[in-house]
């Protein structure tokens, strides 16, 4: 992501004190613990102009749910990576090249909370050598769901397998997402099924030359 942003003309800074947005604790019901982590996040990123995040889920945690932790806190500096490129930088071609047939998985929080649908697709369509093909269940959940994936492992696995069937049906050799947690679930299920379909984060695709 850093490389792609730099190529697009941004000055990228990485603050080593950064850790997590606090979502795992928040989604599991531990708001005090989530608030502690969120406070750390806000302190680390003090003074930053744009905070670009390679995850729809983390972005949404900060832009939508910090308001629940800090009465009405409205964090406007956070941007999901694909949307930052397309809507803030107005870039939809980063000069990437990747020979593949790719299908895009809409991660739930990006799609439903951030309403990100077109930006990643536009970026993918402009990758040389990449053919974008839609799967029939692009908008269905991969089944990860944080602690859900281990608390209700069988259900999570069953949802993941249904999703993977849709990916395989699409004929793609690569499934792309903007959320690593979905990709971890999809890769795990694909690997267990013995599939050769690979998982890639959008940033990895856009950094390919």
């Amino acid at each position: 992501m850093a490389e792609v942003l730099e190529r697009a003309g941004c000055e990228v800074e990485f603050r080593e004190a950064q850790t997590c947005c606090g979502q795992p604790a928040f989604n599991s019901g531990y708001r005090e613990e989530a608030r502690d982590v969120a406070r750390h996040f806000l302190k680390v990123f003090e003074g930053a102009e744009y905070i670009v995040i390679p995850s729809g889920s983390c972005t949404s945690m900060i832009s939508h749910h910090y308001a629940d932790l800090f009465d009405g806190h409205h964090e406007t500096r956070v941007h999901e990576f694909s949307r930052f490129l397309v809507e803030v930088l107005k870039v939809d071609d980063v000069g990437a090249r990747l020979d593949s047939v790719a299908t895009y998985h809409d991660s739930c929080h990006a799609l439903r909370e951030l309403k990100i649908h077109d930006a990643p697709r536009r970026l993918l369509r402009n990758v040389r050598g990449l053919q974008l093909t839609e799967m029939d269940a692009a908008e269905e959940c991969c089944g990860f769901g944080g602690t859900f994936s281990v608390k209700f492992a069988e259900v999570s696995g069953a949802i993941g397998r249904t999703k993977v069937e849709s990916i395989v049906r699409s004929g793609a050799d690569t499934v792309v997402s903007i959320d690593s947690s979905c990709l971890m679930q999809l890769q795990g299920v694909l690997s267990r099924a013995g599939s050769t379909v690979r998982t890639m984060h959008l940033a990895e695709v856009l950094a390919s030359r």
């Binding site: 982590v37 439903r112 769901g145 859900f148 209700f152 069988e154 259900v155």
Partner: protein, 454 residues
């Protein structure tokens, strides 16, 4: 957290036929919905949702006044409102009325509220035969089961299973099966002394109830017997008849993908002089049964906006895998996940609000914009605070501590070390379903620093 998720989840997952039945039926309903709310056929869909949400909010914020208005208008048309604070009170009223009028046979049209209060079992104890007349409900009543889905009670049954329940030939067509049920049910409609229905809406300014259905059985249940009793939760109120224009546009589309259901009945009071049909007595049982408790919670009051369309079930990745019988109460799916803890207490099935990937599909399709994911998160917090698992709390405290200490976080090669440990706990659960990803040789921090040197 004490109670464990039911065995039913594993059983449902392990039944390939059932998996296919649930997934394809819910997928069909979801697909139909999508077509009828598409921008080219219903351009103002999102505005309608907001309008419906606002109407429900307004009504519930002023429910006391609307309930009184409704009661006055029902009485003005010769009907009677019965206030029931519990399910038992509602059942007792109906049982007593049947006894007083010497009624031994009751016909019922589909009503989740009557399921909620176990009306059939109660009437049976009083020696009264209550026959379900909605085809799906009839099938599951004969099979001795409960509704599998809010609007499609026999969704889990294959055609062959339905044939078996109706004692029909195994290769009977759906039309054959419907004809068998129709013949049996006509007899019941004519013989019954009381017809019991639910109500999709209670219209305050008209003292009327509105029934939405596809089979005509609610119409027969409410007009053929001499007595009509509608059982409805107090949250079914809407202020004016004209508000139906909003709700009816949303209900059929969200439920089955129909622009309008086949029959919409607007019923107010008993038969009037000169009218050819209709009941001689008309009662509306207004049920609380825990609703005022939810009403008192401003944050979660919106749980009562539900119009029971079932769209959240059809779009829920979890419901589509675990089916209706894995949920502990009559209301299943995402709406059940938020209603059950609020009605029955958070302690009874504390696992329930956690059985969600928080994908948000339920909130997205809800025609009255109930923020189901947000309420799930709030319920999780309440459950954790009251009866959370001690070890889990410790784990999250540790997580929060590590995340506030970046030096330790950065040193933490726990992910790498995890692999060398024997799989236990969450890792074992993860590996029961899928593999772990390969890890890069260097952490991001290491790569970043090297990049800086280059």
């Amino acid at each position: 957290m004490k109670s464990a998720p039911p065995q039913k989840i594993q059983q449902t997952l392990a039944d390939p036929k059932l998996q296919k039945a649930i997934y394809s039926a819910t997928g069909r309903l979801a697909g139909n919905r999508r077509k009828t709310i598409a921008a080219d056929v219903l351009p103002d869909y999102q505005e309608l949702r907001q309008h419906a949400h606002d109407l429900k909010k307004h009504t519930l914020d002023h429910l006391d006044a609307y309930l009184e208005e409704f009661e006055r208008n029902v009485a003005a048309r010769g009907g009677k409102v019965i206030w029931a604070s519990t399910g038992a009170e509602a059942c007792a009223f109906i049982g007593n009325l049947a006894r007083e009028r010497g009624v031994k046979l009751v016909v019922k049209s589909k009503s989740m509220t009557s399921e909620e209060i176990h009306l059939n079992e109660h009437l049976e104890k009083d020696g009264i035969d209550a026959v379900e007349t909605d085809l799906g409900e009839y099938i599951i009543q004969l099979a001795g089961e409960k509704p599998y889905h809010i609007i499609a009670p026999a969704l889990h049954k294959t055609r062959e299973q339905v044939a078996e329940v109706l004692h029909a030939e195994a290769d009977s067509t759906p039309e054959d099966l419907t004809a068998i049920a129709r013949v049996a049910l006509r007899e019941k409609f004519l013989a019954a002394g009381i017809g019991i229905t639910g109500a999709n809406f209670l219209v305050a300014d008209s003292g009327a109830i509105v029934l939405v259905e596809n089979e005509g059985n609610a119409r027969l249940s409410s007009s053929a017997p001499a007595i009509h009793i509608a059982v409805a939760g107090i949250e079914k109120l809407i202020p004016r008849a004209q508000d139906l224009a909003v709700f009816l546009k949303l209900l059929g589309r969200s439920a089955t993908g129909q622009p309008l259901s086949v029959y919409t009945s607007f019923l107010a009071g008993p038969r009037r002089a000169g009218e050819p049909d209709g009941p001689e007595e008309f009662y509306v049982v207004l049920l609380d049964n825990g609703r005022t408790k939810i009403l008192a919670d401003p944050g979660k009051r919106q749980s009562l906006y539900c119009i029971r369309c079932g769209a959240c079930l059809n779009h829920c990745p979890v419901y589509r895998k675990i089916g209706g019988y894995s949920y502990p109460w009559v209301y299943s799916g995402p709406i059940g996940k938020i209603l059950t803890p609020q009605f029955m207490g958070r302690e009874q099935d504390p696992w329930l609000p956690f059985a969600s990937s928080l994908c948000g599909a339920c909130g997205e399709v809800c025609p009255v914009k109930i923020e189901i994911p947000k309420i799930l998160l709030e319920l999780r917090q309440e459950i954790v605070e009251k009866s959370g698992d001690r070890r889990e709390r410790m784990a999250f405290r540790m997580f929060a501590w590590i995340m506030r200490h970046p030096h330790i976080y950065a040193q933490f090669r726990w992910v790498r070390k995890l692999r060398k440990l024997p799989a236990a706990g969450p890792l074992k659960a993860w590996l029961s379903q899928r593999d772990l990803p390969d890890l890069p040789k260097k952490s991001f921090r290491e790569q970043w620093r090297e990049r800086g040197r280059a």
